[in-house]
Amino acid sequence: MGKVLMKGNEVIAEAAVHAGCKYFFGYPITPQSELVAYMARRLPEVGGLFLQAESEVAAINMVYGAAGTGVRVMTSSSSPGFSLKQEGISYLVGAELPALIVNVVRGGPGLGNIQPAQSDYFQVTKGGGHGDYHTPVLAPSTLQEIIDLTEAAFDIADQYRTPVILLGDGMLGQMMEPVEFKELSEREPVQKEWATTGTRGDGKPRIISSLELNADALEKKNELLQKKFAMIKQNEVRYETFEIEDADYIVTAYGTAARIAMNAINKARKDGLKIGMIRPITLWPFPEQPFIETRDRVKGYLSVEMSAGQMVEDVRLAVEGRAPVSFFGRTGGVVPTQEEIYDQIVKLAGGVEV
């Protein structure tokens, strides 16, 4: 197909279409509105449907209804809107329905601003809504990676019957890069025997529900959900490492922060510092393994985030106190610069020889 120059939000939308998603229910919010607008234009072209809901709450519940019929369906939002979707996400998990939910994160708390941030990490990785649950979270750092991860997100959703979150930020949503899509092919829809489409001679009616009034039965259901989460933890961890083999210090960052940190690391390497990088691609399940493998031989880790320090908690859990873990972050929609991160690396390494 060749490369095309596209905006991040539109790449997510087109990637979803390529992954066989034909149904989108959403509500406009900056900085992800281009995604909604793109779907409004694009989905009718592939025989799909775009519907602008009256609110984020309604949108996620429309997704719930559509997901129950067995189709690939998605919604997208940004932080304040994503908070409103938490009710529906908890129900999707409880009723075991697959769907893709995109969160293009902006500065908070509250209305915050419309600048890029990573301050929804806790919300997306620790459940977010009520009840004991996790949702898989995929965090691309380039627009090309968005294409692969959007498709992977739908596959994971279908395989495990779970909502999956694709986590971006305002920078990824708004930036433009050349990307290449594979040819759009007609995908065979995944057969979903549990879908409520009218019994049509199938016999016994099917029920989609997250309600279980009996405590013992609900505990059993929770145990099954936890088993599913354990399977996802075992099978779906994704991450990328860069020169961690000889590293004295390892920087860890995801998404936009990882891109900028990478430039700082390259500069530090040129200056003779042995710095590596661990880039989590799945934020839940969190990639503990590269930390376990390195924690007894490195001098320390630096978590770089566009937040006040959220992922750093998972890094500390993975490191288990065997090496110092430090943190650098900017908040409120401020994007850390390459120079700032470089300075932090140099400080951590005790300076560079000049």
Binding site: L49, V57, A58, M62, V73, E87, T196, G198, I207, S209
Partner: protein, 252 residues
Amino acid sequence: MTMKTVFEKTSGLTENQTHYCPGCTHGIIHRMVGEVLEEMGILEDTVGVASVGCSVLSYEYFNCDMTQAAHGRAPAVATGIKRVLPDRFVFTYQGDGDLASIGIAEAVHAAARGENITVIFVNNAIYGMTGGQMAPTTLIGQKTATTPFGRNASIQGLPIRVSEMLSTLDGTAYIERVSTHDVPNIIKAKKAIRKAFETQKQGLGFSMVEVLSSCPTNWGLDPNESLDWIKDNMVPAYPLGVYKEVPKGADR
């Protein structure tokens, strides 16, 4: 000697025993919906959406595919289903707390969009499942757990007349309010439910039947008194009748 069957259980309902309180008219309303689905021959093409409240378990009772929705969100869930499966019949079964309070936005906007779904709106002027608190439809002066001195308009505001309100929207195709307090009204109610599903069949848009219903437990009345209370107190506040009817073949 062979006997002729003159009356039997509708196939529109499952064999499950319902959990409703004695004297509650949910059972009658369930039965009417089940009979209509059976008589129209559309049980196998129907997906129902259960709400939250007393009817939360209705997915156990209707003999068709069912989805359980969050508090008030049934019209949004139904929208999602119907937009994917426009040739299936989709209905929601919601109480007054669910539809008129927490889910009023979803109900208004599904109606405004003219979603081709059917809403069965059961109005008993009180929250049943949660223990008899005030609903948006609680009458002025009515005592509930959260209006222990009677609903006072200056404090708790005035009741919402949902049928009247939704019938002002261009997207609604058929809206009727019926009651369950005696047999003639129950017969009318079933006709209205049938008409609502026929409206959906014709693709005319949003249809809703508001059914005045009893709550002996939370009203503190016996079943017969409850039926009288519907007739004497609810019907005057919520007049029965057709509020909206778009003619068949209307340009929608």
